[in-house]
Each structure stands twice: as C-alpha cells, then as structure tokens.
C-alpha cells in the first residue's frame, strides 16, 4: 500500500526520494542489530585473539564469513517477512513436536550459557576499572531488563542501534594501533594458512562466534516483532547486508588493533580484557579505554539480544504472545526474559564457577542445533505453500547449501578439536 502512495511523485524527484528514504528508514534496524550483536563478548575476545596470535593472516576468513553471514541472515529475514512468523513457530508448525522440543530446549540452554559469557565480559571490564563485580553485574542486569521491559519496540530498537553505532570505538582503536595497511590488504584478499592446530582451531572459532543458532533465531523473530510487511523485503535485505558488512568491518578493525600492536610485540592473550590491558603500553591509554568500553557495549548488547532470543524461541514454540509492543499480553515472554537475565547474573557471581567448561558445553550445544535449524530453514524456504514467489531459486539453494555445509563442517570440526586438544 505504501508502494501505491509512492506512485504519486515522479521517480527521480526530490519528493520521491524523500518518501522512499522515509520508507527505508522505517524498515531498517533489525538486520543491523542482529548482525552487530554477533560481535558480542565472545566475538570481541575471539577477534582479539585472532589478531594477537596470527596478525593479518586470518582476515581473508573474515571476508568469507561476511558473505556467509549475509546469506544466512537474509534467509532468516525473508522467512520472517514472508510468513510473519518466527523460526521456532515455523519449526513447530512444519516439523515434528519432538524436534521442536529438542531444538527449543538446546537453544535455551546454550543461550543461557552465552548470557553467562556476556556477564563475564562485563566482569572483565569491572576488574579493569576496579569496580566490584557484585555491583557491575547486577547493574547491567537491571539496565537491560529495564530497557526491554519498559521500552516500546521503537525505543528498544533505538537503544540497540545506538549500541551498534558505538562499535565505532573499535575502528578508532584499529587506527590508533597503526597497523600495516599493506599487510592488512594482502591478508584480506589472499588466503594464507598456517599448518598448525592452533591456527585451525582459532579459524573455526572465528566462524563459530559469528554464525550462531541464537543469531538465526533472533534475526527472524526481531523482524517479525517489528511487523515489517513482506513488500519491504527489498529494503530489509539491504538492512541485513549492511548489518553483515558493519559486523565484519568492526571485526576487521579489532583484528587490526591487536595485530598492529600485540602480534608485532609478540604478546599472546586469551581474552578481550587482557587485550585491553596489553594495548595500553603499545597504543596508549586511550586505546585501552576504547577497547574496554567497546567490550562493555558489546557485552550489554549481546546480553539483551541473547536473552530476548530465548524468550522469542520458547513463546513462539508454545504459541504464546511475545511482542515487545504487547507487554501486557506477553507475560510468558517477560517471565522468561527475567529468568534468563537474572538467573545467569546470579550464577556468574558464584565464586569458583567453572566458566570455561560451561562455555565449551554451550558451544557444543550450538554445534548440535546449528545443522538442524539450517536444514529446517532451507526446507522451509523451499516450501512453495509457505513462501510463494519468495521461495528459494535453484541458485539460492546451491548457495544456501554450500554455506550451510561449510558452517556445519566447521562447527563439527570445532567440537572435535576441542576434545582432542
């Protein structure tokens, strides 16, 4: 119908352009947010390690991942826009109840552990600035809860988009590290390998942190929650592509930031907090602060997005209401959200919590559920009754299957390597 309204002014005129811009601006958001949220605490840590341990050698993998991320997120957005339903809802309606239960249960558990990782990121920052964890973690939990519980969809989206823009801090940090741009360019476009187990393990982790089960659930549900009409698929596609680009553009600069400094100096790190501290003597205290605040921002966005995903998945599967703009009608959504946010906040504060095994476990669950949901997605995208003219073409199917096969292979490899090393 908007398209009809648009048919008025002559195309090419300033008025036409303004109106078109308005439509685009009202549609975009979910894609950028869903993409950027993949750069959560775990993502930042992985990128920092990639740069510090292997310099510019893995940038080409990031280049490939950008395309895969764009393809998978587009599939989610298309499914959501055309059917008006989230992925969990579609799985329940089109596949067996057993499969639905299994997928929902695993995703919920894996997400819970993932939220734990976001809190770990927040704790790291708290440690750097000497703030007690017992203050920082509950504050973060309350803040995120307050925003999603009190805010309308519009407000929540604005907060998320602002957060997505704040990732710009890493681009500045990347420049401050004075990276070798020639090597960076070479690393991006010419594939390089190092025949060590460590290299492969890190490469696989790089893919695993970007393409996730929760990311796939989130992008679709968030589009559905917004209520974007299917005639705006074109704009939503651009939204998703911009999201994929921005996500890995930021990741690129994080890798540069540690490659230009830590890698050059031969300093090895294991997480993003260590990266921030190690940056100080090499790139100045401003770089350290940028890195630290960037991590805080990433952890908070991740915390919000992953918690919301759990609520979306469960409410969709059971057929309960779960829309940010329908708070009163969505009690289950908010109960689940409160459970995820607060139970994991309490858990992270338990002294001596075995965080590493929990995160490895979460990674494994993710690996189990990834092939299942991607196969489901491709099957759904080929369902003519569901998708109509938007179903996958042969070309899209080939691209989808290749991407999915790649993701599945890599994540299985990740689990295998975790257990053999």
């Amino acid at each position: 119908m908007i398209m009809e309204a648009l048919s008025g002014p002559k195309s090419g005129s300033w008025k036409y352009f303004k109106m078109k811009l308005w439509v685009i601006l009202s549609v975009i958001g979910p894609g950028i947010i869903a993409g950027t949220a993949d750069n959560d605490a775990g993502g930042i840590a992985t990128y920092s390690v990639v740069g510090a341990s292997f310099g510019y050698k893995m940038l080409w993998i990031l280049f490939v991942i950008t395309f895969i991320l764009a393809i998978t997120q587009e599939m989610g957005a298309r499914l959501g826009l055309v059917t008006g339903k989230g992925l969990a809802a579609l799985i329940r309606e089109n596949f067996s109840l057993r499969m639905t239960t299994l997928v929902v249960l695993i995703t919920f558990l894996a997400n819970w552990a993932n939220v734990l990782a976001e809190y770990a990121g927040i704790s790291t920052i708290a440690d750097i600035y000497g703030i007690p964890r017992y203050v920082a973690v509950p504050l973060a939990a309350l803040l995120i809860w307050y925003i999603i519980y009190k805010g309308s969809y519009k407000v929540v989206q604005k907060v998320f988009l602002t957060s997505a823009l704040l990732f710009f801090a890493y681009i500045i940090a990347g420049f401050m590290a004075h990276p070798d741009w020639g090597l960076a360019l070479k690393g991006t476009f010419i594939p390089q390998l190092e025949m060590t187990q460590d290299f492969f393990y890190t490469a696989v982790a790089l893919i695993g942190t970007t393409i996730t089960a929760w990311g796939q659930f989130f992008v679709q549900s968030y589009f559905v929650d917004k209520g974007v009409a299917s005639e705006h698929l074109r704009y939503s596609r651009w939204d998703v592509f911009m999201g994929a680009f921005w996500t890995d553009f930021v990741a690129f600069f994080i890798i540069l930031a540690t490659a230009g400094t830590l890698y050059k100096a031969g300093i090895r790190i294991e997480d993003a907090g260590q990266a921030a501290i190690a940056l100080e003597p090499l790139a100045g205290s401003f770089a350290k602060h940028l890195f630290a605040w960037g991590l805080l921002n990433a952890s908070l966005l991740g915390l919000a997005v992953v918690s919301m995903t759990s609520s979306y998945v469960v409410t969709e599967a059971f057929g309960w209401e779960g829309r940010v703009d329908l708070k009163k009608e969505s009690p289950a959504f908010y109960k689940l959200l409160a459970f995820t946010i607060f139970s994991s906040a309490i858990a992270i504060l338990i002294p001596g919590l075995p965080l590493v095994p929990i995160l490895l476990g979460s990674q494994m669950l993710n690996t189990f559920v990834l092939p299942v949901i991607f196969i489901a997605i491709i099957k759904l995208l080929n369902n003519a009754q569901l998708m109509g003219k938007h179903r996958n073409s042969l070309l899209l199917n080939v691209i989808s299957w290749i991407s999915v096969a790649f993701i599945v292979f890599m994540s299985v490899l990740l689990v295998y390597m975790t257990f053999t090393s």
């Binding site: 109840l97 057993r98 057929g319 009608e329 569901l386």
Partner: protein
C-alpha cells in the same frame, strides 16, 4: 485425517484419512472405514485408497492445518498452540469436537506419559464451536474468532481490537469490513493510531470509506493525511463530497467549523409543517440524529429553529415561521469549541447552528460532536 467444515451438529466431520507408507501417500475415504481404534484402523474392504486426492474447498487436514497451529484470542493476541485434537462419534460418524491446549497433551505426545507431574496436570479443551478456521493471507489456516462474531461487535469494540493488532493484521481487518462499518470503525480508532493506519490504506479505498462517513469526521481524516495523500484521495472522491470536505478541512480541529456537520436539516420559512415533516422523512437516512430543523430565508440566512417535537405536535398546514423559535443561539465558524460547549450547556441545547458573519448557516454541532472533542479517547 481430512475433515469437512461444519457437517455434523456444527462439528467438522472426518471425511478421509491420509496414509503415508514408504514415501507414498494415499487417501482413504471415511465411508470405507469400519472402526477407529487404538493404534489400528479397520477397513470395510481392501484397495479402497486413492493416490490422487484434491482437497475440496471446505475440507482441511487436521495434522497440517490444525494440530500445532496458533490460536488467537478475540483481540488477535497469540494465546497458545493446539497441542492435541479430540474426535468423537456423533450420529455414527466421527467429528472433530475440540482441541486440547494443555501441557499434558504436549507431554503425552512427547511420550512422557509416565512422569509423575502428568498426574497433576489436566487437559484443557476448547470446544470447536468457539473456534473457526480462517484462510490466512498465504492460504494456510489459522484459528481465530469467526468473522461472523466479529461483525456483530460494535464499531467501537472493533476499533479497540484494531489497535491491538499489528499493522498488517489491522489493515487486513479494515479492508475485510464493508465500507460503512469500516467508516464507523475508523471514526472510533484512537487518533495517534489512526494516522498511521490511514497512511497505509490506499487512496482509492480511503475515498470509498470516506463517502460513507459523515462529512465532519471525513474532514478530520483529511486533515490528518499528508499533503500528498490528501491530493490523491481528493482525486478519487466524488465532486460534491470533495467540495464539502475541502471547505471543512480549512478549519482547525478546535473551532466550531472544524467539528461541525455540514449536513443539516433546513426548510424555507414559507414551508408548511407538512412539507417540513416530509423532508425529514425523505432525508432522515443522511443524518445520524435530527433534533431540530432550521428555518432559513432565500439567502440561507438563519431565521429561526423548530424542534422535531414541535413539528409533530403542530397542525400540518401551519407555516413553520409561525411556530418557530425566533431567539436562537448560534456560534460562528471560528468560535472555540470550549466556548461552543459553554453556550450549549448554559442553554441546555442538544444542537447548535454554526453561522458565518452574514448569518448564513454553515453547519450544525450536536452534543455528540462536543463529547467526542472533550473525551477523544473513549
């Protein structure tokens, strides 16, 4: 299992069974089925299945279209999914009588019957009579309150319902209503929601709806539209309606001219009571309520007013200017509504005439219009 909509006592009758074996699927017509039992179905004869079966328009498949599907409540809010289905034998036939929405059904289907918590949970059934299957935009079936039930609702209630739906759903709903109801519903929708909704209804459709609206409300709608949309709608409107609306939409929402109704009942001062009454009879369907008839001279200048009651009691051959009240309260088109309300309250008026500086009558404001202004969100 295939069922036909509404066959036995209002419940869908089971008309066939789909069997899947080794990738082949076939349909058995239910007339060949001897008995439905636990885990086995006995047939009356062998080789009675058809491999190619076209679903009739009023047939749907239980497993595909009902089981695990979403149930919406009256307000379009997702409530729960269909966790199981209950069939029963009525008049020697099987029919779908209710759906189970309990967690118990869910656990049972997952094979967790032995769990101790199962004994504590209860089945919750919704009678099929309370549900209806409507074809969704994509040709799949959804469970929702029936449209028949919806149409019986008051426009104000439909408006509330629309505010609770998401945009796509609410626009679909508005479009599914007949134009007259749609007009009434749009009058009732909350202002901030209305703006966005209106922008998304096509100009043609909007023009059709506006033709059905009283001019005052239609003018309100026009005022809320963007300049561009306004022009498109005007192009689709009939000339007379467009002229009236154009005139009305010049006034602000807070002055008499902005809320007045330009369609009022007036008679010439030389008319008889009988003529006045027959005019009321003839035009009554154009007005929501008629309390007064205005008496005007040749130049449409207001001379007096006569209430319907006075007309009814008078002799039909009397002239209206003999029985009309000559002292009449009027307001000007630019009078603020607060002032209009004050005047009407002070003199206990049900309606008041709006005139221009030459005393030419422009429109009419009733208490309803004032109330709508004072309590906009009711």
């Amino acid at each position: 299992m295939i069922v036909k909509e509404r066959e036995i006592s209002g419940y869908p009758e089971v008309t066939g069974i789909v069997i899947n074996r080794k990738g082949l699927s076939a349909v058995i017509n239910f007339v060949f089925i001897e008995n439905l039992g636990y885990g086995e179905i006995t047939l009356k004869k062998s080789d009675c299945w058809k491999e190619h079966y076209e679903l009739a328009d009023d047939e749907f498949m239980l497993a595909r279209d009902v089981l695990d599907q979403q149930i919406f409540d009256v307000e379009g809010v997702r409530v729960v999914r269909v966790n199981d289905i209950e069939l029963a034998k009525i008049e020697e036939k099987f029919a779908l009588i209710s759906v189970d929405i309990s967690n118990r059904a869910l656990l049972r289907r997952l094979g967790l019957v032995g769990l101790p918590i199962l004994r504590k949970t209860k089945s919750k059934f919704i009678d099929w009579g309370n549900l209806s299957v409507v074809k969704g935009s994509l040709g799949n079936l959804k469970l929702k309150i029936s449209k028949a039930k919806l149409v019986k609702l008051h426009p104000a209630d439909i408006a509330n319902l629309i505010e609770n739906l998401n945009f796509n759903e609410s626009i679909k709903l508005v479009q599914s209503l007949d134009k007259e109801t749609a007009a009434e519903v749009l009058e009732e929708v909350e202002p901030e929601y209305k703006d966005t909704l209106l922008e998304r209804i096509s100009p043609k459709e909007l023009a059709h709806i506006m033709e059905e609206m009283p001019s005052a409300q239609a003018a309100d709608v026009i005022k809320d539209l963007s300049e561009h949309k306004k022009r498109l709608v005007f192009r689709k409107l009939g000339v007379r309606k467009a002229m009236t609306l154009h005139k009305l939409s010049k006034y602000g929402n807070d002055v008499a001219g902005g809320i007045m109704n330009p369609e009022f009942m007036s008679v010439n001062k030389d008319a008889t009571v009988g003529q006045a009454i027959s005019k009321i009879r003839k035009h009554s369907d154009e007005h929501s309520s008629i309390y007064h008839v205005f008496v005007v001279d040749e130049g449409k200048r207001l001379e007096g007013v006569v209430s319907v009651r006075t007309l009814l009691l008078a002799n039909s051959s009397q002239k209206v200017n003999e029985i009309m009240g000559k002292v009449i309260r009027t307001v000007r088109v630019r009078t603020h509504i607060q002032e209009v309300a004050r005047v009407m309250t002070k003199y206990n008026l049900m309606s008041i005439a709006v005139v221009d500086k030459n005393k030419v009558i422009q429109g009419l404001i009733t208490v309803d219009d004032i109330l709508r202004f004072l309590i906009p969100n009711a």
